[in-house]
């Protein structure tokens, strides 16, 4: 009992001393000389107490401070981070000593810390970020002991996955190179021995020079390989960073984006003329086929559609597509259609993280490379959907006004339903909005309710022929200047253009109409 009390006191005393030193170094890390003096004492005490891991860490820190005192090392930001990381580890050890888990201390991996301190002392470039990752990924001893068996299994599986990685393959190459180099060194040692035996000073010098050179190279390779292995073992994000990401490269507003396939339900094409407006929202009628495959059983779902370009501030006006490409995306219970200018291709690519400043930026989740080595942003669809929802009706109208080209409305006036159908098909295919009338009276009735941009009429019609129809049109205030194209056997006096039925061609008709509408 008494022995316990005696033993407890030095432990507490040692802990007070080491904690005091840690807080002092944190507070004034540049007080090299005073830190060095205390470091040496605490280091020796750690050895005496049997805390070998703590001793090694203090020894490494002592070397760093010795180098700082001797002006062999500069106190940089990286070095400060490294020192703080070593101190964090020491604090962790103090907690272990405090809780009586000293047995577990020796199982803790402190080699990376020692290696990084060595690197610092040697004046090598080092990146404490890797060590930072390491400190985050090291599970605390207590937690590890309490972890359920399943979790351990998962960790073991991860190790296997990591071993199959390319990084390991690269290390194997380095190791093969090192083995080859060790054989060369062996040969050089034999040469040196022979030179010493012959008392050949020139040979000794030569062999020493070669030996020094190759040993240095071997050391460099070893360090590199060790660092790679440490990074690999500790870099939990390695596999995540190398996962394939699938999706579509799409264009909108002359820029390319990637939409991840995990959100894409379907890709469809739809004529802009087929959209409906429900509660001020443009919707498309999406046909969901039934399980039976019978057309009549198919369900129609009205899905709101938004143009991706409408989200960007500098929308560019463009000619209207005959068919829009729509990506039907869904997230949670919401489904919307995103209209894009084009879908380029389906890709399977490796994602690159955005620079750290974008950590809280939600609209873009990363970058991928295309075949031109351009960086393509990956759109974060939940955020894009949120942005679409927050678009006000006014914004949508404004966007449509900017980007939507005016669709010319043409009225076909002909008593032959076949002729009307042919003309209708030709005009529709050329992006015109087409209405039909069977004769002049029917046409005038329609013209009262709708403003057409051009009239295409026949001459010989029942009830009201072309000539009388044209007289009536010119008397209508809103149709005085609307071009009338006559497609008949003979031209009409008041018509603006004439297309002969005798030598009719699609091109001639379309060119005449475009010329009249100044749409060439």
């Amino acid at each position: 009992m008494n022995d316990d009390v005696i033993l407890d006191n030095p432990v507490q005393c040692y802990l007070d001393e080491t904690r005091s030193l840690i807080s002092y170094i944190r507070k004034s890390p540049e007080e090299y000389y005073s830190i060095l003096r205390t470091l040496s004492m605490t280091k020796d005490n750690s050895h005496m107490m049997g805390y070998e891991s703590v001793y090694k860490l203090y020894k490494a820190l002592e070397d760093v401070y010795k180098a700082l005192c001797d002006d062999k090392l500069s106190f940089s930001k990286n070095l400060k981070t490294l020192i703080n990381l070593v101190l964090d580890k020491l604090v962790f050890f103090c907690e272990m000593i405090d809780s009586g888990s000293t047995e577990d201390m020796e199982n803790e991996n402190i080699k990376p810390y020692l290696l990084y301190c060595d690197k610092a002392v040697a004046g090598e470039i080092f990146e404490p970020k890797h060590l930072l990752k390491l400190t985050k990924s090291i599970p605390k001893t207590k937690k590890r002991r309490k972890a359920p068996a399943k979790k351990i299994d998962k960790e073991q599986k991860d190790e296997i996955l990591k071993i199959s990685s390319l990084k390991i393959a690269r290390n194997i190459t380095i190791h093969e190179e090192m083995i080859a180099r060790s054989y060369i060194i062996n040969n050089q040692v034999s040469m040196l021995k022979a030179a010493i035996a012959d008392n050949d000073m020139r040979g000794i010098k030569e062999a020493c020079k070669l030996l020094a050179n190759d040993t240095q190279n071997l050391q460099n390779s070893l360090r590199m390989s060790h660092e790679n292995l440490v990074n690999l073992m500790q870099d939990d994000t390695f596999l995540i960073n190398h996962q394939d990401h699938h999706g579509f490269f799409v264009t909108a507003n002359d820029s390319k984006y990637m939409i991840p396939s995990e959100y894409i339900y379907d890709v469809i094409c739809e004529s802009p003329l087929n959209y409906e407006v429900v509660q001020n929202q443009k919707v498309t009628n999406y046909v969901i086929e039934s399980e039976t495959g019978i057309k009549e059983d198919a369900e129609i779902e009205q899905i709101p559609v938004y143009s991706l370009s409408s989200l960007f501030p500098d929308q560019k006006a463009k000619s209207l597509n005959v068919l829009d490409t729509i990506l039907i995306v869904d997230y949670q219970t919401q489904r919307i259609g995103i209209i894009v200018d084009s879908v380029q291709k389906f890709v399977s690519v490796i994602k690159k993280n955005m620079p750290p400043a974008f950590a809280k930026f939600k609209a873009v989740s990363g970058l991928v490379f295309d075949e031109k080595y351009d960086m393509i942003p990956i759109l974060n669809i939940p955020e894009i959907m949120r942005r679409f929802r927050s678009l006000r009706g006014y914004d949508v109208k404004k966007f449509e006004a900017i980007t939507k080209k005016h669709i010319n409305k043409i009225l076909i006036v002909d008593d032959s339903s076949t002729t009307r159908q042919i003309e209708h098909t030709i005009l529709m295919a050329n992006n015109f909005n087409v209405d039909e009338a069977g004769d002049g009276i029917d046409a005038i009735e329609k013209m009262k309710h709708k403003q057409f941009d051009l009239i295409l009429c026949d001459d010989d019609m029942p009830r009201m022929d072309g000539k009388i129809f044209l007289d009536n049109v010119r008397r209508m205030e809103n149709y005085k200047n609307v071009p009338v194209v006559v497609m008949a056997d003979t031209p009409l006096e008041k018509a603006d253009a004439f297309v002969s039925k005798a030598d009719f061609s699609r091109e001639k008709l379309i060119n005449t109409i475009k010329r009249m509408l100044k749409d060439e």
């Binding site: 001393e17 090392l73 690159k352 750290p356 930026f361 873009v364 351009d374 960086m375």
Partner: protein, 158 residues
């Protein structure tokens, strides 16, 4: 227990000078660069790389001073137009010169007009916020404010 107070016996001046030297490293050269007609100075050790004629890949929904990202051997660097950040009237930069900063916490660069000169000023010509070059004072470029601005603006909820 160790008494720390007795260990701080170094002469104050010596210590400061030593720390200053250690902090600044061995490379005491500065880079002078220009954005339009305005010149700035930056310690060479803060520069990762200078890149020319790089294509900027636009990132949507970012503030206008973030021109996009450039591809530095597979690593994206945010491109910042300082003139746009400061709401300057003439903010477009015709030249494609990019100054990449050496930082542990982020990857970003600024769009500049020209690299003027690398030079090593005399100790007396270095001030807290400027350096003296050919009888003119050149302000030191504040890199940290860019990082602050980006973190502030990119973290915003709309």
């Amino acid at each position: 227990m160790v008494d720390m107070s007795e260990n701080t016996a170094l002469p104050e001046n010596t210590n400061k000078a030593q720390i200053e030297k250690l902090y600044n490293g061995n490379d005491s050269s500065y880079l002078i660069f220009s954005i339009h007609s305005k010149r700035y100075a930056l310690k060479s050790t803060m520069i990762q790389e200078i890149m020319y004629d790089m294509r900027i890949h636009v990132i949507p929904f970012t503030p206008n001073y973030i021109e996009g990202v450039l591809n530095c051997r597979g690593v994206p660097y945010t491109v910042i137009n300082v003139l746009k950040l400061d709401n300057a009237e003439e903010s477009e930069i015709a030249e494609k010169v990019f100054l990449l900063f050496k930082r542990d916490d982020d990857q970003f660069c600024i769009h500049i007009s020209n690299i003027e000169v690398f030079f090593e000023p005399e100790e007396d010509d270095i001030f807290e916020d400027k350096i003296k070059y050919k009888l003119k004072y050149i302000p030191l470029f504040d890199v940290d404010r860019l990082e602050d601005a980006m973190c502030r603006d990119l973290g915003k909820e709309e």
